[in-house]
């Protein structure tokens, strides 16, 4: 590890831990699969209905899977003391948590993006619809991860903070969900052009990549002294 910069080392370490800990990276995909399977049980097997709301179901499932993965972002480092070391290091805390969130996105959210077209088959989505959903998920899941980073930093010291994390993060995720589903549907049905909601979705992701690490760093510094 001597040739890597500290940030790159942190990134590699987090990715290795995410793949090995707690069921690995595919536990998120498994949860995604289960949520997507539950909806037809609740709604009935009406294929036309499922095709109409399929992109929304995939987005909701990805949002919930990403939400549940968030307590692995900072809490395990807090518990074994590595978070204190990261805080005391000379690498800026904002960059360190941004690297951790990037590792989280690569190992938790990217598998969801890859799985989405496969799960689209279960919901009677055609290739174009599934592709649109996967593309919007690719653009929108960074927003979900980096906004979730803020919630994870706020609740890092709480022992049973899981539901509170969801309560904090979900209101901030609502715009991402709205524009993600709007972009997916625009690619299939129209009448809105795809570019408008997709552009806003990309803007939300870019904004959260900047705001998330700064807010999370402030929260960590304030909460861990």
């Amino acid at each position: 590890m001597g040739a890597l910069t500290p940030l790159a080392a942190l990134l590699v370490r987090d990715m290795q831990l995410a793949v090995r800990l707690g069921g690995g990276a595919f536990i998120g995909v498994l949860f995604f699969l289960m949520v997507v399977t539950l909806v037809p049980f609740a709604l009935g097997p009406d294929l036309a209905l499922l095709a109409r709301i399929g992109s929304a179901i995939l987005w909701l499932g990805a949002l919930l899977a990403s939400l549940l993965g968030l307590d692995r972002l900072l809490a395990s480092d807090y518990e074994d003391g590595s978070l204190d070391l990261i805080l005391m290091a000379s690498t800026p805390l904002e960059l360190a948590v941004a690297a951790k969130a990037l590792a989280h996105w690569l190992t938790t959210s990217l598998p969801l993006v890859v799985a989405a077209p496969l799960l689209g088959v279960l919901l009677n989505l055609d290739g174009r619809a599934s592709g649109a959903v996967a593309l919007t998920l690719l653009a929108g899941t960074p927003a979900l991860t980096y906004i979730g980073l803020i919630g994870a930093a706020l609740t890092v010291a709480l022992r049973r903070g899981g539901l509170l994390l969801a309560v904090l993060v979900l209101p901030l995720n609502i715009p991402v969900l709205i524009f993600g589903v709007a972009a997916s549907n625009a690619a299939i049905v129209g009448p809105l052009p795809f570019g408008t909601p997709f552009g806003i979705l990309c803007a939300l992701s870019l904004m959260s990549v900047v705001i998330g690490p700064f807010a999370a760093a402030i929260a960590l510094r304030q909460g861990l002294d």
């Binding site: 803020i150 930093a153 706020l154 609740t155 010291a157 709480l158 903070g161 509170l164 309560v167 904090l168 979900l170 209101p171 901030l172 609502i174 715009p175 709205i178 705001i211 807010a215 402030i218 929260a219 304030q222 909460g223």
Partner: protein, 242 residues
Amino acid sequence: MTLIQLANPSRVLALSERALPWLIAATVLAFVVGGVQAWLAPDDYQQGATVKIMFIHVPAAWLGIFCWLLMSIAALGTLVWRHPLADVAAKAAAPIGAAFTLICLLTGALWGRPMWGAYWVWDARLTSVLVLFLMYLAVIALWRTIEDPTRAARAVAVFTLVGAINIPIIKFSVDWWNTLHQGASVLRLGGSTIHPSILIPLIAMLVAFTLLFLTLHLAAMHNEILRRRLRTMLMMQAAAAR
């Protein structure tokens, strides 16, 4: 009374005890004046007497937003200026803001049923105000979950500042999206578009609601300071008993 003098809790307690009776009297008077004006205001040519829900709905909405802005300034006071009582102000404000936002949503639903035919529609203004209400509830939950009030204050301050991005979204939602909700008719470029016979009672009710908010907020701050003293005394008692 400068801001730094207000960092002393005892001084704030004394000030609130002196000011509250006057504030309560002013609030009651303002509601009487506003209420009479609202009662005497003319009916709308299209909506009839139903338009008078506006005299509750609009001030409640304005105060729900104003309260989040107040909490944001208090959040800056906690994080940036380290004012000792900024977190007391924020904690006291959260349930009051939530209540006003809920009044806004409920009166809006009651107004929407006769006017739009639906209690609720998912348009941009209603959705963003609902998100504001959810964020108020999240803030209250965060206050209650972290036990130490000082640490809770800093976490809440960060979340309040992040959530403040919703406020311009609420204000401009009727311009940016095609919404069923009424567009901006008071605070807009080119002046208000409401006739003075309805605008004046609306302003009067807004003043009354604002005085109500200030009264409730000051009383809540008073109680919060006493609550923290009680907590400290209980902790000292528990430590002395060992």
